[in-house]
Symmetry: C2
Subunit: 205 residues, 2 copies
Amino acid sequence: MNNATSSPPAARGAADHDVRAQIVVAATEHFSQYGYEKTTVSDLAKAIGFSKAYIYKFFESKQAIGEMICSNCLREIQADIRAAVDGVESPPEKLRRMFKAIVDSGLRLSFQDRKLYEIAISAAKERWPSAIAHEECIRQMLLELLRQGRESGDFERKTPIDETAAAIYLVMHPYVNPVILQLSSHYTDQAPAQLSGLVLRSLSP
Amino acid sequence: MNNATSSPPAARGAADHDVRAQIVVAATEHFSQYGYEKTTVSDLAKAIGFSKAYIYKFFESKQAIGEMICSNCLREIQADIRAAVDGVESPPEKLRRMFKAIVDSGLRLSFQDRKLYEIAISAAKERWPSAIAHEECIRQMLLELLRQGRESGDFERKTPIDETAAAIYLVMHPYVNPVILQLSSHYTDQAPAQLSGLVLRSLSP
DNA sequence: TGAGTGACTATAATTCAATTTGGTCACTTG
DNA sequence: CAAGTGACCAAATTGAATTATAGTCACTCA
């Protein structure tokens, strides 16, 4: 087990300290422009006009800064997905849109903000907490969607909901995970529709 | 059967030449023991008692040798899958076994013959012909299985069979492709059963 | 006392010359 | 002519020396 999910030493200094925010802003800019690897902690320090040592009063490590930026990134994807699903009534249509949004949002980020996307790739590869949280968030959205669909009678109810959710998540996983998304990019135009179709057939009552 | 004296386009030298076979044997041994990268063409030449230059009378490049060994590898996996499915009557059960065999056989190779598996990883990453052929082969097996299931009345027939096949292949793909299999290894114990379940529900008439 | 730092260390990245390696070709030899 | 090779080249790789970087700590000074 790792200590990531356990107690607080995750963040140093006050969680809402002004300097912390400055660091995040500077890091977002620098990472996005030069990439995570090419940005040194000293660069960030210089950018906000403090010494490198002071950065470490707010973040435990460079990776911790990367994680922060990465979570923000992934939260944007989550927001995209929510936006795509929100306001849609029919659960089957919701599922279709969720699938499409996962792929589209991931690809959009990967083209539009390559450098930030590379952090997401590292996060997924090394299973940073932010990446795990992202997966969990999508799993939750899926579960909620399934509940709705079962309630409305659109989806079958025989299969245990956790099993259904787990299986569908496995189907989605290659498009949620940035590392795999890259490798699956041959399919990204057809995959959402085809897989939504398959999954919906599997859900029909 | 006779062979032309001029060089064929795909493979150099006679396709069944003795020396070619020796090269394959030596390569299999060396690659499996020291890995593809660490084995030099001179090593292979030494092993069969010829000069390095002579190797190139039979193979266009080192990668061509790697491809040969890789195809053999992948053909073994294909054989495993066929063996798992053969003799089983019920198409649903066939599908379950196919899924399980894909995962098991891939994992077995990856543990038992790491070094050879690494070639398969390269092949998948760089989309060598051998890897593409492997995917195509599995796609064919799947299609055949679907046909059988439709004929026997076990599977629904409304959805166009090519779409069904494409979708199910997309579900299988992460476990067929060695690069992705590695990344999905968290799930490999439950995935085959859960995904088979989902797919079978989607196929129910 | 607490915001902030310069000087330090251990390790990771980079550089660059020396070496290997994949690949070719003119050539021998039987 | 057919089987087989040594000598050669450009590109990749290695390894050791050098540099840059993440991260710490005792310290300042307001």
